[in-house]
Subunit: 560 residues, 2 copies
Amino acid sequence: MTPEKLQTPPKLANGTLRIVPLGGLGEIGRNMTVFELNGKLLIVDCGVLFPEEEQPGVDLILPDFSYIEDRLDDVVGLVLTHGHEDHIGAVPYLLRQKEDIPIIGSKLTLALVEAKLAEHRLNAYTLTVREGDVEQLGQFECEFVAVNHSIPDALAVFIRTEAGTVLHTGDFKMDQLPLDGRITDLRHFAKLGEEGVDIYLSDSTNAHIPGFTTPEKEIGPTIDQVISKAQRRVIVASFASHIHRVQQVLHAAAAHGRKVAFVGRSMVRNMSIAKQLGYLEIPEGILIDLKKVDSLPDHKVVLMSTGSQGEPMAALSRMANGDHQIQVGEGDTVILASSLIPGNETGVYRVINGLMKLGADVVHKDNAKVHVSGHASAGELMYTYNILKPRNAMPVHGEHRHLIANGKLAEATGVDPEQVLLCEDGSVVDLREGKARKVGQVEAGYVYVDGSSVGEITDSELKDRRTLGEEGFISVVTVVNRQTGTIISGPDIHARGVAEEDEVFKNIKPKIAKALTEAIQDNKEHTTHQLQQIVRRTIGSWVSRKLRRKPMIVPVVVET
Amino acid sequence: MTPEKLQTPPKLANGTLRIVPLGGLGEIGRNMTVFELNGKLLIVDCGVLFPEEEQPGVDLILPDFSYIEDRLDDVVGLVLTHGHEDHIGAVPYLLRQKEDIPIIGSKLTLALVEAKLAEHRLNAYTLTVREGDVEQLGQFECEFVAVNHSIPDALAVFIRTEAGTVLHTGDFKMDQLPLDGRITDLRHFAKLGEEGVDIYLSDSTNAHIPGFTTPEKEIGPTIDQVISKAQRRVIVASFASHIHRVQQVLHAAAAHGRKVAFVGRSMVRNMSIAKQLGYLEIPEGILIDLKKVDSLPDHKVVLMSTGSQGEPMAALSRMANGDHQIQVGEGDTVILASSLIPGNETGVYRVINGLMKLGADVVHKDNAKVHVSGHASAGELMYTYNILKPRNAMPVHGEHRHLIANGKLAEATGVDPEQVLLCEDGSVVDLREGKARKVGQVEAGYVYVDGSSVGEITDSELKDRRTLGEEGFISVVTVVNRQTGTIISGPDIHARGVAEEDEVFKNIKPKIAKALTEAIQDNKEHTTHQLQQIVRRTIGSWVSRKLRRKPMIVPVVVET
């Protein structure tokens, strides 16, 4: 968000509902929406975004809390729609600023966020809700609606206020045959539609995909068949939060007399939570500790692992490198039972090639039906528009192309095109008398978690990292005595990432020395900074000409 | 290739044909195969590989010529199968070592390589061939076979030697309805099959994809329909070498009364070559110079552009950024008529989001049939195995997973599994008495073109770049006087990409000074290197604890 694009919204009148998305509009991730009414705030979701190449070294990206950070005492609650990182990952960073913000969510969602908060040594003030529940959070009356997603126990939230009603879906799809029988509750949607939905915020992730998302259950037979045919070990990689996917693997393993070991820290932790809360049914005696796997014959083993996105440090990548206690070999079968998130292709195909080189058969989305998406496609979204008949539509959760696609579905199903609001992070939308309109734009930039710092790393530092990563750097250290007009020591040149051999620089060193000596002899007024600039220019033009590169140059002139 | 994996092949006996792939086996790119017989060498293709994230700042990756560089006088010819960069891009770097190696190829292939050589100020010694031609290159008799690919005028090469026969397809597919009517000549393949193919080297790129590649012509109606419905300008982006794709755009533009401007240096250059040689038919009066486009109404314009892979400096990316003379706006239509090469997703979707934000409709592979592959799928490869009945199969052109898939097709169609050779770059294969076997492994590592240097950048420098790019660096400069045991100046700390504000370091500076002073006072024997290690340890552990980062640390101790 460039400052010139910001546009201060008008002061919020009493009785108007203000909606400010602080993340998730223009990106897949860091979902967070703030609702404001009569001076009080309700927050829905508080997730992280995972960094891309352009943010090297960054661990996580958070929503920018600055819009609300002076008003945390006015927050009546933080509703979490489900337990994925892009919806709950930033909660610890918000709670560091005020620990006792009440968190409202389903049982599983709260269990996952509590585990996360414990790692950050934070306490959670929670309120567990389930579908059908109605909770009064300040002047926001929240009614929770069951939705189906790629993690169990997801909820949409319907918010009643004096200014009008809002339905926020969180992430959802409309699998008609989910493993747990808990469908997106269209009957509940119908009732809300009859009551009247003033503004509908819905998941845009798959809005550009025509038709309907395939049911999760259709993956079961593929996994079953692969396991039934496998001669030796089967390794299945999936997201550690995808409890139903793991459930299908457990069923298939049981059907073929195999034991299952969980591999990877988050897999072990999440499955333990899921089992404890009753979301995962573990067939009697099927689990085995990873350490004991070697005591079983290969054809009696299934390993359920993390690393389906080719993450270099995850279990599966280390297996592909031959760098894990599980040695993959000829005849083993690996199933990548997950999507391939754009940007991860290189890493995933590296893992696939590595596993195949070791002799494994690799089953993945290119050659078998081993994944379905967790998000509603265009066909499903149209069902919701038609049953809700919202007065205003505000697509959320997606890059710009997804939001536009969702907006078109709203129009196609009869929402007045004027009342389809294409927003971005920081857009300020006011709802009053059944009409929503954009009234301003506030700061909603990326906040980087980088090592132990939050929000301290600057775009200039990231730009420096990109330059360093592409071009390397050259530092030139010279000690001069300005009184005598001589060089005491140096120039010493240290290069990293480019021209690391010393002799590259043997011809340029005398030129730097000459330029510096002339400068201090000719003009006693040069500042140290000016002397450093002379060094920078001398070596910079030489490097650009000789090496055709533009490394970062750090000239250090020390005066004694 | 790690040195311990190398295995010196036996001395080559007279009358045995040796085959050494120097690139393209284990990667998509830098295709190059060396054939050796009785002391003479024939080379097929000499292409480049484009770098990935793990090779930051690298411009290109070449095959490693070291296996042949002492024997360039023995090279009887370099056969180029077609004009794509991954088959011809490294020719200038080979010819820099010996300019007069004869280059054999089709008319279009040679025109493209000559344009490239001219940019490198190299002359080309060429021999133009066409399908059906037989040329004696030393003891290698080469017969050329028409194949269809995503660039016109591609050739396979059949090599007759006293040791046996080889068919090398180059890249190909079997479109039965190509725009130019020039199909992969299966009748010619049949004749070669009857004569006897001892070893078959075939394109593995799509071997893992079941069925048949869609004909190029099926894209035409989509492009036609999009252009017919467009209200304002249409911008089509494609590979600059895909002459038939451009031809279809020209036809569609003509059908709807629009003029076409070429945008992007390589598009302009290639289409000029293609037109001149008769590979591109330009409807009378349809071309218009980009500078004159503004004089036409928007609905009379098609722009044919580069940048379909989201390359940041290409025309389309600059349009998406609002940073190009063509201002994309509401109602414009953009067609990405190309594949999405794995690894480019982030860049391509950034361009799509940018164009949609500007108001353009974007048509791409996710929402319309605007691309088909240039490579044979499994079904097509099986036709070739069955018609050729090769004695040995050696899959080429692909990552390991593709080579394995192609090998399975060879087995499925009756090649003796023992005679399916899964090789990698540097594998040494000998053909003798109709049997091929792997006899060794030679050096075939990546050679990086990096600025003006070729092969000078080391893996250690690339590792440094990755560290610098992820973590940044901290340099610490201190001037000490060992005689007096005192610090003359410093420590001065310069950080880039991390903790760029000076005050971060105010507490650690005295600790570094103390550690250094103690070191030079306690023990006069410390080398400068040891003093620098003391600095490194002191600041390194502090940074790791305080910032939780691991930047590169460059300690400089200057003694006066």
